[in-house]
């Protein structure tokens, strides 16, 4: 499809007998900020590496900006901040960005302009002549992000961009992501910080065992999902079980009942059901479910590896 930034079909990667990515099928539109969520070991990084040509898929197909995987030319239109990034730390900040500009085959004048612009954007204007080995972790993360934006990419992969950053740095990343989206770039954000994803992403995919479990549009679908907290007495066990027709996750601790329902319309139905079942409802509060609650409902509570 011409309008997709990323399109994958059953992308699979196995390392020997270990399946890292079972079958990744997703589509990311141009100008979209797409969050990629899942527990540790869910295959997020391997998926990103496959899309960037670092790892060869065992099976499946994918298109990046309309070009098949492995196309060298398309990489001139892509930016990438690797997870646990390490760079040539004997270079100064300016030299480092200039080197990556050369790799992008940018002409000298454009490199000079972009290096200055990006050092300023990353808040490193005064540190351009300092060697990377003298940078703090946060400064390295910032210069890594600058490196990913050098070529004014149409598609940007950010693998855990806020790790190592203080709150000001996180705010900066958020602003940069928004600015890039406004410029028309698609951003593929791999992060385990759900609050980060919640405020920056248009859409998220939940991935586990290398498969997309669910994709949610945070602007529409996410609004529908509600979390209900109620204080209830006389709730019989069979009545509690009956709540499953509306809710995916139900918890009763003493008088405190918590449940996640998939649509706002379910809330009055749950209230009517509780009352009809003979339970006594003292208070009930419903609010939009947070991404964390959605994550736990979709991916489950078992810890990642």
């Amino acid at each position: 499809m011409q309008d997709s930034a990323i399109e994958t079909a059953n992308l699979r990667k196995t390392f020997g007998s270990k399946v890292a990515v079972r079958g990744l099928t997703l589509e990311v539109g141009r100008g979209e900020v797409f969050g990629f969520l899942g527990p540790n070991g869910a295959g997020k990084s391997t998926s990103v590496k496959m899309l960037l040509g670092l790892v060869t898929p065992t099976e499946g197909q994918a298109l990046l900006l309309g070009r098949p995987l492995g196309d060298t030319g398309v990489r001139a239109r892509v930016g990438f901040l690797p997870e646990h990034f390490r760079f040539h730390d004997w270079l100064t900040g300016e030299e480092f960005l200039d080197f990556h500009g050369r790799l992008y085959r940018m002409p000298a004048a454009r490199r000079r302009r972009r290096v200055a612009e990006l050092l300023a954007l990353a808040g490193l204007a005064d540190h351009g002549r300092k060697r990377l080995r003298d940078y703090s972790k946060g400064m390295l993360q910032r210069i890594g992000l600058a490196q990913a934006l050098l070529n004014e990419p149409e598609l940007i992969f950010l693998d855990e961009p806020t790790s190592g950053l203080d709150p000001a740095g996180r705010l900066l990343v958020r602003d940069i992501i928004r600015a890039e989206r406004d410029r028309g770039a698609a951003v593929f954000l791999n992060s385990h910080l759900l609050s980060e994803v919640e405020v920056t992403c248009d859409r998220v995919a939940f991935i586990k065992h290398g498969e997309v479990l669910e994709t949610c549009d945070l602007k529409t679908l996410g609004m529908e999902e509600r979390s209900i907290e109620a204080r209830v007495k006389n709730l019989r066990p069979e009545a509690l079980a009956g709540l499953e027709q509306w809710a995916g996750s139900i918890r009763l601790e003493g008088e405190s009942l918590t449940l996640e329902v998939r649509a706002e319309e379910s809330v009055p139905e749950v209230v009517a059901y509780l009352v009809a079942s003979g339970a006594r409802v003292y208070s009930l509060h419903s609010r939009q479910a947070s991404l964390e609650e959605m994550f736990l409902r979709i991916v489950g509570t078992e810890a990642g590896l």
Binding site: K49, L54, V78, F80, F85, R86, H88, L103, Y104
Partner: protein
């Protein structure tokens, strides 16, 4: 070729910035000083009647030059392997390579650019060491040995061969394993050379065949033995047996084989690096 040039430039800059060049230059200079001093002292103490002295002295200079070049050859081999063992393996292990190969550059350009950068630096290093020795031999010994370009060419080929083999291992092994593998092969070739030499002396065809087999597995040492032969010419045997005098001379075919070996190692390095997961 732009990508190759960018990577080759970065490789040289890294060597300079991380003081690799400074350390190598310091070791090389120390060696040249020591060699010059030793040469002076040895020639000063040479015995012999006045009439024979000139011829004897000339032969001594030729052998002493070959001995010096033998040391240069080892120094170059060690520097080749030690400096380059980490360049591919280390960058894969640390993840530095990830931000590089995801740029619009092909993996072969990254690997070949690095190889070219090291090849250029090692060429300059060999020229510095061999050139320094030639000047010393001329000034102190008063003689210029013959067949020096051929010998230097063969030593250069040996260094390039070791570099290509180091890159081949570095594309799939860790830094340490790469170093051990290449040194292991080089030592095997070195021992093979001695076995062949002793086989020639003892008229043992089996020993000579074993030596040749070792040279086929790793032809690095046979290049040196050919170079030593070129350097000594007519004075073979004057000073007894040793790594500086060659009885069983590797053929021109062996030199050609080494060239093909180098190209194959480099091609395999590129193939492995291009196909592997990073």
């Amino acid at each position: 070729m732009t990508g190759v040039a960018v990577i080759a430039g970065l490789t040289c800059r890294e060597a300079a910035r991380r003081r690799l060049l400074a350390v190598a230059a310091a070791i090389g200079s120390a060696y040249l000083l020591l060699y010059g001093f030793g040469l002076h002292k040895v020639l000063e103490s040479l015995p012999g009647a006045a009439s024979r002295q000139l011829l004897f002295r000339r032969q001594a200079v030729i052998v002493l030059f070959a001995m010096g070049m033998y040391a240069v050859n080892w120094l170059l081999a060690v520097i080749t392997i030690l400096t380059s063992a980490d360049t591919i393996a280390g960058e894969i292990n640390s993840g530095i390579i990830q931000a590089v190969v995801t740029k619009p550059i092909r993996r072969w350009e990254v690997l070949f650019g690095k190889w070219l950068g090291f090849a250029a630096m090692l060429t300059v290093y060999l020229a510095f060491l061999a050139g320094g020795m030639l000047i010393e031999v001329r000034l102190i010994g008063g003689h210029t040995p013959s067949h020096v370009p051929e010998a230097i060419g063969l030593m250069w080929l040996e260094s390039m061969l070791l570099l290509a083999v180091t890159f081949r291992f570095g594309a799939s092994l860790s830094t340490l394993a790469t170093g051990v593998a290449v040194f292991g092969l080089h030592i095997l070739a070195f021992l093979g050379g001695w076995v062949e030499e002793f086989g020639w002396l003892a008229h043992s065809q089996t020993a000579m065949d074993l030596g040749v087999l070792a040279s086929v597995v790793m032809p690095s040492e046979s290049l040196w033995r050919r170079a030593a032969f070129e350097l000594q010419g007519p004075v073979i045997g004057s000073f007894g047996r040793g790594p500086f005098s060659i009885g069983s001379v590797p053929s021109a075919w062996m030199v050609l084989y080494a060239g093909v070996y180098l190209a194959t190692a480099l091609a395999l390095a590129i193939r492995t690096f291009s196909r592997r997961d990073l």
